[in-house]
Amino acid sequence: MIEFEDVGHDYDDHAVLDGVNLRLPERRVAFVGANGSGKSTLARMINGLVLPSRGRVLVDGHDPAREGRAVRKRVGFVFTNPDSQIVMPTAGEDVAFSLRGRGLSKSQRRDRAAEALARHGLDGYAEHPAHQLSGGQKQLLALCSMLVLEPDVLVCDEPTTLLDLRNKRRFVERLEQLEQQVVLVTHDLELLEGFERVIVLDAGRVVADDLPETALKHYRALIG
């Protein structure tokens, strides 16, 4: 379970998050809010990419500030820009890269990578140059490279913002099928179907926290 205990964050003496108290046991949790409301900062705290200036974050009782490694083993992260998440030349190598240091042989890594690609809509792409994939395929590849590590939680920060409608739908379909807990940051209210809880941020504070329908009413009134 993810917990925020009175979390605040400052950039250059300017508070971008303040007084965030949340316990997130639900399987599908979403954050919405205007640009600059602090969504990305909050999401990055879940795997310790950003450490809170005040308060603390816990993932299954582990504090990312002190046990970054243990937390990152539990939490996968998909970013907005598909181009920036690929570190190896081919799709198969990129997924296999995630498995470094797990004590697997090269052929085991390659098999697992191919398996993961097949499971997430990239069957047969193992030898394909990663940079020649479409934006949507790259984002699926980023997802694969995370899921092959079997995290308990997957955090996605606006994963569909740069995708076209069809690729967006494809990506969302994959997300829906996951057993993992998913924490989704999004602008796109269409993605919230099936979510159990939607949290609205405004200027670094939680201003609504409810079932999607009720929370979105708040959000719409806010951006009015």
Binding site: S84, V87, M146
Partner: protein, 201 residues
């Protein structure tokens, strides 16, 4: 379109040579062309590299990217050298560049990055006692090769955007957005690596 060749799966003898030996051969060839000063012998070495492309079964269309990069560059170098130092030195410099770059390209076409990374890690294992971390060096090698592909994608995207606004000839209309893209890419890539546990091991 990437200027440098990416791995092309194949079963040729060159594909099957272990990555570490191939890498050593590439390094030796680079040293050799620096030491050899005769245009004739450099021509022979270059000819051998070209032969390597045939052995590896690389189709000419896969050489188009590197040719487009090499031909104008070599042409320019040749012209400048000829003017400054004469025909002989111009030929020597250009043959050196041609042999080394063509060999490096052949290497990337016939070697999986993953295999190279593993070979580097294995080769550097004895240096661990001097505080070198072979996994880090291996990762660096892999990322460097990947960065070449990423950078050339960004360069062509920037050039397209520049053309779309018909700012074809402006250097700053290319350089500044390209620099911004590159820096943003580096920043985001660093974050993505951290999220994948690099630095935790």
């Amino acid at each position: 379109m990437t200027p440098l060749g990416l791995y092309l799966p194949g079963t040729s003898p060159l594909h099957r040579v272990p990555a570490g030996w191939k890498f050593l051969a590439l390094l030796s060839l680079a040293v050799l062309v620096l030491v050899v000063g005769s245009p004739l012998w450099l021509g022979v070495v270059t000819g051998m590299v070209v032969l390597g492309y045939f052995v590896a079964g690389i189709a000419p269309r896969h050489c188009w990217g590197i040719a487009r990069l090499l031909v104008p560059m070599l042409g320019l170098v040749f012209a400048v050298q000829w003017w400054l130092l004469g025909l002989d030195s111009a030929a020597v410099v250009c043959l050196r560049l041609l042999a080394a770059l063509a060999a490096a390209n052949l290497f990337t076409l016939t070697t999986r990055v993953e295999d190279l990374v593993a070979a580097v890690e294995r080769g550097l294992r004895p240096t661990r006692r001097f505080g070198v971390r072979p996994e880090r060096v291996g990762l660096l090698v892999g990322l460097t090769l990947q960065a070449v592909a990423a950078l050339s994608t960004m360069a062509s995207q920037t050039r397209e955007a520049q053309r779309a606004r018909s700012a074809d000839r402006s250097v700053s209309a290319f350089a500044i957005p390209f620099l911004v893209r590159t820096l943003r890419h580096a920043d985001e890539l660093g974050e993505a690596l951290a999220a994948r546990g690099v630095g935790d091991d």
